[in-house]
C-alpha cells in the first residue's frame, strides 16, 4: 500500500520525518515494504497491509492508526449528509443470491459534467501510481484509496431495466476494461442489466455502461460481496485490481454509505453535480459487536502490566468505545471498520501494539522443561548421517517433486503442479541421486560416495510416506560386496539387527551401485549391542574350516547355518573368496571363533565336538565336505 505523506497530512498532523512515520507504522503491524520514494516532490511510503486489515488499505485507515500511535486527533474529510439521498429511486436492484452480495448501495447523481480532474486530485492519484481518466472516474478511485471502499459509476442512461447481481451463465462472454475477453463460469458474480453484463462484481468493469464524455447522469454503486467468491473470481481469471484486493477481504457494509457520501460531496464540489435519488439493497444489517476485555488477560498474555486508564485511552484512540469500566473488566464496542477484531485476544493485541511491543520485557520462561518427546526417528536419522559421513559419504538433499516413471510402486500424483517436471512425488531416492552422481562425474570425481535421507511416497490405497536412506557408491572398481558391507556396517552400528528385507541393492552400472534402506523398518528392529566390555581379554579359540562346496551353495546361508549351530560360536567369516575347482565345486574357506558363555577355557573336546556338529550340518544341508587337502 502506497501512502503519500501529503495525503496523510490531510487527516493527521505530522511532525516526524517520513522514515519515522514508516518505522512507527512498522512497529504497530504495518511493515515498511520498500524505500521511501519521492514522487513529484512528495514522499510516498510503502507499507505491507496484512490480510486481516482491509480497513488500512486506505489513507484514512492508515491515518487512524498513525493518529492513535502518535497521540493526535484524526480529522475526517468532509462528506455529504445522508439525508440528502432521498427520495428512493425508481430503479430496482435484484440480488439473486443473498449469500453472495450483502449490500448493494446506489445513488443517482445528475448534473454531471465529465471533464478533466482538478490538479490536486490528479496529483494525489499520481502519488499512488494511478492514471487520471476523467473527473468522475478519478473521484471514485480517489474515494476508494481514501476510504478503502471500491465504487463503480455507470452512465444512468446506458442501463436498461433493473440492476441484477447474479451468477454468470456457464461460458457467458464478457469483455472487461482494457479489451480483455473473458469466458465466465457460474461461480462468477456479475452486475448486469436486462441486456448485458455491466461489470464482473468486485473485480473489473466494462465499457458497456461506463462513464463517457457524453454522460450527464450516473448511478454510483458501493457494494459488499462474499469475499471468497470475489477472490476466486479474481484468481480464476488472473485479474487483480485495486477493487478485488479490497473486496476480497471483509469490509463492513457500512463503509459503502460513507464512501458514497464522500463521492457525492466531491462531485458537487468539482462539477456541481447533485444526488437525486438512492436505492439501497441491504437486507440483513450487520450489527456493531462488543467484546469483554479482562485486564488480567493483558498481563497474562502480554507479560506486562498496563493500567486501566491507559488501556481505555489506547482503545478509544483507535475508535473503540469503552463501557463499564469496572475493576478489571471492560466492555468494548468494536467500530464498524474493524472487522478483524473478533475475540478478547484481538483486543489484547490492540492494546499491546499501541502500548509498544518494545516495552514488553524480555525474559526466559522459568517453568521446568516439559517431558521429552523428541522424535526417536529423527535421532536414528541423525545417527545415520554421522555413520555415513564417517564412511566417507557426502550428504545431499534433493527435491521430492519429480517426474520419474519407472517404479514398481504406485506413485502419488499432484493435482495442480505448475510444471510437468514436478508432477508427482518420488517413490525412490535413486533417480535424484543419479543426477547428483552425474554432477560429481562432471567434476571428474573418480570416486563418488553420496547419500540422502528423505521420504519416499506411494499409494497403497492410502498415502504412504516412508523414511528412506539412498546411497550411491561408484568407483573404477566398486564391488557389490563393498556397498553391501557399507549398508550392513551401518545397520549394525545403529545397534539394529540386520534384515535383508530392510534394504535392497541394485547396479546402476558395472561399478556403480545404488542401495536403499527403509529407515522406518530398521527403526522397528530389535536392538543389538554395538560393543562389549571385557574386564579381561576373552578366552577365544580361533578355528579354520577349509571346505569343498557345490558351486550353487550360497555363502550367506552357509555362514548363517554355522552361526546357529551353537551359542558358543562367536564370529563366523568368509576367510577368502571362493574359487571354482571344477564344474561342480568351489573352495570355501571359513574362519570362526569360539567362546564359552562364562569366559572359561574352551576344551579340546569342546572344539572337536563343535567342528563335528558343524560339518554334519553342512553335509546335510549343502553337501559340503572338508577339503581333502586340509
Amino acid at each position: 500500500m502506497k501512502v503519500p505523506i501529503n495525503w496523510l497530512k490531510q487527516y493527521v498532523e505530522i511532525a516526524q520525518p517520513a522514515s519515522q512515520i514508516a518505522s512507527i507504522l512498522t512497529s504497530i503491524g504495518h511493515m515498511q515494504d520498500g524505500p521511501i520514494q519521492k514522487v513529484k516532490g512528495g514522499l510516498v511510503i510503502d507499507i505491507e497491509i496484512r490480510q486481516n486489515r482491509p480497513d488500512c488499505l486506505s489513507i484514512v485507515g492508515v491515518a487512524r492508526e498513525l493518529a492513535a500511535a502518535t497521540n493526535v486527533k484524526i480529522q475526517y474529510p468532509q462528506i455529504e449528509n445522508t439525508a440528502t439521498f432521498s427520495p428512493k429511486g425508481n430503479w430496482k436492484i435484484v440480488v439473486e443470491d443473498a449469500s453472495l452480495c450483502f449490500r448493494f448501495n446506489t445513488i443517482k447523481i445528475d448534473n454531471i459534467k465529465v471533464g478533466k480532474s482538478p490538479e490536486w486530485l490528479k496529483a494525489l492519484l499520481e502519488f499512488c501510481g494511478m492514471e487520471s481518466i476523467n473527473n468522475v472516474v478519478d473521484i471514485t478511485n480517489y474515494v476508494m484509496i481514501e476510504f478503502g471502499q471500491p465504487l463503480h459509476a455507470f452512465d444512468a442512461n446506458l442501463i436498461t431495466g433493473d440492476i441484477v447481481i447474479r451468477q454468470a451463465r456457464q461460458n457467458e462472454k464478457f469483455t472487461a476494461l482494457g479489451e480483455k475477453k473473458l469466458i465466465l463460469t457460474t461461480d462468477d458474480l456479475v452486475i448486469a442489466d436486462a441486456e448485458k453484463i455491466l461489470a464482473l462484481s468486485g473485480v473489473i468493469g466494462s465499457s458497456t455502461a461506463g462513464v463517457n464524455s457524453e454522460t450527464k447522469s450516473i448511478i454510483l454503486e458501493g457494494a459488499t460481496y462474499n469475499q471468497a467468491s470475489i477472490r476466486r473470481t479474481s484468481l480464476r481469471h488472473a485479474i487483480r485490481t485495486e477493487a478485488s484486493t479490497r473486496l476480497g477481504k471483509f469490509l463492513h457494509p457500512q463503509l459503502t454509505s460513507v464512501a458514497l457520501c464522500r463521492s457525492a460531496y466531491l462531485l458537487k464540489e468539482t462539477c456541481g453535480a447533485k444526488v437525486v435519488a438512492s436505492v439501497d439493497y441491504y437486507p440483513k444489517i450487520f450489527e456493531i459487536a462488543s467484546l469483554e476485555l479482562s485486564t488480567d488477560r493483558i498481563l497474562k498474555l502480554g507479560g506486562v502490566k498496563i493500567d486501566n486508564i491507559k488501556i481505555s485511552q489506547i482503545l478509544q484512540a483507535l475508535g473503540f468505545e469503552v463501557r463499564g469500566r469496572s475493576a478489571n473488566k471492560l466492555t468494548v464496542l468494536i467500530p464498524y471498520f474493524r472487522t478483524d477484531v473478533l475475540c478478547e485476544e484481538d483486543l489484547v493485541e490492540e492494546v499491546l501494539r499501541m502500548y509498544g511491543y518494545d516495552k514488553i520485557p524480555s525474559v526466559l520462561p522459568n517453568s521446568a522443561p516439559s517431558q521429552d518427546i523428541q522424535s526417536r526417528y529423527f535421532e536414528l536419522e541423525e545417527k545415520i548421517r554421522d555413520i555415513m559421513t564417517s564412511l566417507g559419504f557426502d550428504e545431499h538433499i534433493t527435491e521430492p517433486l519429480t517426474t520419474e516413471t519407472v517404479s514398481n510402486k504406485i506413485p502419488i500424483i499432484l493435482q495442480n503442479s505448475l510444471t510437468s517436471e514436478k508432477s508427482m512425488l518420488r517413490t525412490t531416492l535413486q533417480h535424484s541421486l543419479e543426477k547428483v552422481l552425474v554432477n560429481y562425474q562432471k567434476h571428474r570425481r573418480l570416486i563418488t560416495k553420496i547419500f540422502e535421507i528423505g521420504k519416499i511416497f506411494f499409494d497403497i490405497g492410502g498415502f504412504k510416506e516412508q523414511r528412506t536412506l539412498g546411497v550411491i557408491f561408484s568407483s573404477s572398481s566398486a564391488q557389490y560386496k563393498e556397498i553391501k558391507g557399507i549398508i550392513t556396517t551401518l545397520i549394525s552400528q545403529l545397534g539394529k539387527e540386520i534384515h535383508q528385507s530392510d534394504y535392497f541393492i541394485v547396479p546402476i552400472d558395472r561399478h556403480v551401485w545404488y542401495a536403499e534402506v527403509n529407515i522406518d523398518s530398521v527403526f522397528g528392529r530389535g536392538n543389538i549391542d554395538t560393543f562389549s566390555v571385557f574386564t579381561s581379554p576373552p578366552l577365544v579359540v580361533f578355528q579354520d574350516l577349509s571346505l569343498v562346496a557345490p558351486v550353487e551353495a550360497r555363502v550367506g546361508e552357509v555362514l548363517d547355518t554355522i552361526r546357529k549351530v551353537d551359542k558358543r560360536i562367536f564370529e563366523v567369516e568368509l576367510g577368502e573368496e571362493p574359487k571354482i575347482i571344477d564344474n561342480q565345486n568351489k573352495t570355501l574357506f571359513i574362519k570362526f571363533s569360539l567362546r564359552n558363555q562364562n569366559d572359561s577355557n574352551v576344551s579340546k573336546k569342546d572344539i572337536d565336538d563343535l567342528r563335528q556338529q558343524i560339518l554334519n550340518k553342512l553335509k546335510k544341508n549343502f553337501l559340503i565336505s572338508l577339503s581333502s587337502k586340509a
Binding site: I28, G29, M31, Q32, P35, I36, R50, Q51, Q227, R231, K249, K300, L301, G302, G303, V304, C343, E345, V348, E349, R353, Y357, I360, P361, S362, L364, P365, S367, P369, S370, I373, Q374, S375, Y377, F378, R385, M388, S390, L391, E395, H396, I397, T398, E399, P400, I412, L414, N416, T419, K422, L425, S432, K435, N439, H443, K449, F451, F457, F463, E465
Partner: protein
C-alpha cells in the same frame, strides 16, 4: 669412676669411627659399580633395569639411606648430603642417556622418510549445509529443553489449515499456493505449523518442541523461491506463558544465530494462527540500520514470525485457552543457509549441484 666412664667413651668413639668409615666405603662402592654398569648399557631397556636397581624402592640408594640411622646427627647431615647428591647424579645420568638414545632412535626411523611429502587422504563425508544449520539450531533449543518433533509431509486440510485458524475461504490461503494431491482434503504441507497442530492434538501438556522440515508451495522456481524449501518452527505451551517469554526466547535465539551484539526489534505482525502476533527483526548489518538494498531500505531484516498461539488453535487441538497459553515462532531456513555458505541460488541447494570440496 671417672676413669671407667672415659674408657667406655673411648670405646664408643672407636666404634663410631668404624661406622663412619664403612659408610664412606659403601658410598664409593655404589658409585663405582654404577659407573661400570652405566657405561656398558646401550639400550633404554638396560638403562631402565639399572634405574630400578639403583633408584627403585628397594634399590642401592635407599639401602645406603637406611644405613644413616647409625650415625650421629652431625654425621647424618654430612652423609645424608653425600647419598642425596649421588642419587641426583645417577638419576640425571640415566635420564640424559635415555633421552639421547630415544632421539637417536627417532632419527634412525625418520631418516628414510621424506617428511615433506603429503599425508595420505582419508575422506570423511560432509553433511548438507541445511543439515548443518538445522543441527546448530537444534543444539540451541535442546539446551533450553525442546525436543525435535516430526510429522507427515502429506497433510490433511484439517491439520495444515483448519486447526490453524485458517478455515476454507480464509484470505491467508491465497498467499500459500498449495500443492494438492486430492483437493481440498489432501495436500503437501505448506508450513511446518501442521506438525505443531499434530503435537498439540496428540501430546500431553506442557509441551516444548521444535520442527525443522521440508515444506511445499506451488511456485515457479527462481533464485529465491522453490517449490520445496525448509522451515524451522518452535512451540511452547505451558501455564502462564506470555509474550515476555516469547521475546526472551527469541532474543536469545537471534543472538545465538547472528552474534551477541545483534540489535533486535520486536513488533506487531499478523499471522492467522497467533494472537497477539509478532515479528522479530535484526538491524541490518550491511547498512547499520540506515537502509540499503539488502534490507529493502527498512534498516531492519525480518528474521522470525511469531506470536501467542490463537485461542481458536488451542481449542481446535482440545486445549483449554483459559488454563494454557503458549507461543509459536517460525522462520525459513534456506536464506540463512545460503547466507552462511555463500550460495546465491536456492535451487542449487536442493539439486545436487553442491559438490563437496575434498579436504586435502
Amino acid at each position: 669412676m671417672q676413669h671407667v666412664i672415659l674408657l667406655s667413651l673411648q670405646r664408643l668413639w672407636k666404634l663410631r669411627k668404624n661406622d663412619v668409615r664403612v659408610m664412606d666405603q659403601q658410598i664409593n662402592k655404589v658409585r663405582n659399580t654404577f659407573s661400570e654398569l652405566f657405561d656398558k648399557s646401550s639400550s633404554i631397556v638396560s638403562l631402565e633395569t639399572i634405574q630400578i636397581e639403583y633408584l627403585g624402592r628397594k634399590g642401592q640408594i635407599n639401602h645406603l639411606a637406611s644405613q644413616l640411622v647409625k650415625l650421629s646427627l652431625s654425621e647424618k647431615k654430612i652423609f645424608g648430603k653425600l647419598v642425596n647428591s649421588l642419587k641426583q647424579e645417577i638419576s640425571s645420568l640415566i635420564d640424559q642417556k635415555k633421552l639421547a638414545l630415544s632421539k637417536k632412535k627417532h632419527q634412525t626411523l625418520l631418516s628414510e622418510i621424506d617428511t615433506t611429502s603429503p599425508g595420505t587422504k582419508y575422506l570423511i563425508g560432509q553433511l548438507h549445509p541445511t543439515t548443518l544449520v538445522i543441527r546448530q539450531i537444534n543444539s540451541f533449543f535442546r539446551y533450553l529443553g525442546y525436543g525435535v518433533y516430526d510429522g507427515p509431509e502429506i497433510e490433511t486440510d484439517e491439520y495444515n489449515f483448519q486447526k490453524l485458524n485458517v478455515p476454507a475461504d480464509h484470505p491467508a490461503r491465497e498467499l500459500q499456493d498449495t500443492l494438492y494431491i486430492v483437493e481440498p482434503e489432501y495436500l503437501l504441507r505448506t508450513h511446518t505449523s501442521s506438525v505443531e497442530t499434530r503435537a498439540m492434538t496428540k501430546e500431553q501438556l506442557p509441551l516444548q518442541i521444535v520442527v525443522p522440515g521440508k515444506v511445499y508451495r506451488n511456485e515457479t522456481a527462481n533464485a529465491t523461491n522453490n517449490s520445496m524449501f525448509y522451515q524451522y518452527e518452535g512451540l511452547r505451551i505451558d501455564k502462564n506463558i506470555s509474550m515476555a517469554h516469547l521475546r526472551g526466547t527469541l532474543d536469545r535465539f537471534v543472538r545465538f544465530l547472528y552474534g551477541e551484539n545483534t540489535k533486535t526489534r520486536f513488533r506487531c505482525k499478523y499471522y492467522p494462527q497467533v494472537e497477539p502476533g509478532a515479528g522479530m527483526d535484526i538491524q541490518c548489518n550491511f547498512c547499520n540500520g540506515n537502509g540499503c538494498q539488502v534490507c529493502k531500505y527498512r534498516g531492519w531484516i525480518e528474521v522470525l514470525g511469531a506470536g501467542m498461539v490463537h485461542p481458536n488453535v488451542l481449542t481446535s487441538c482440545k486445549i483449554d485457552p483459559e488454563i494454557w497459553s503458549g507461543f509459536a515462532f517460525g522462520m525459513g531456513l534456506d536464506r540463512l543457509v545460503m547466507l552462511k555458505y555463500g550460495i546465491d541460488d536456492v535451487r542449487k541447494l536442493y539439486s545436487g549441484q553442491l559438490i563437496v570440496k575434498q579436504n586435502t
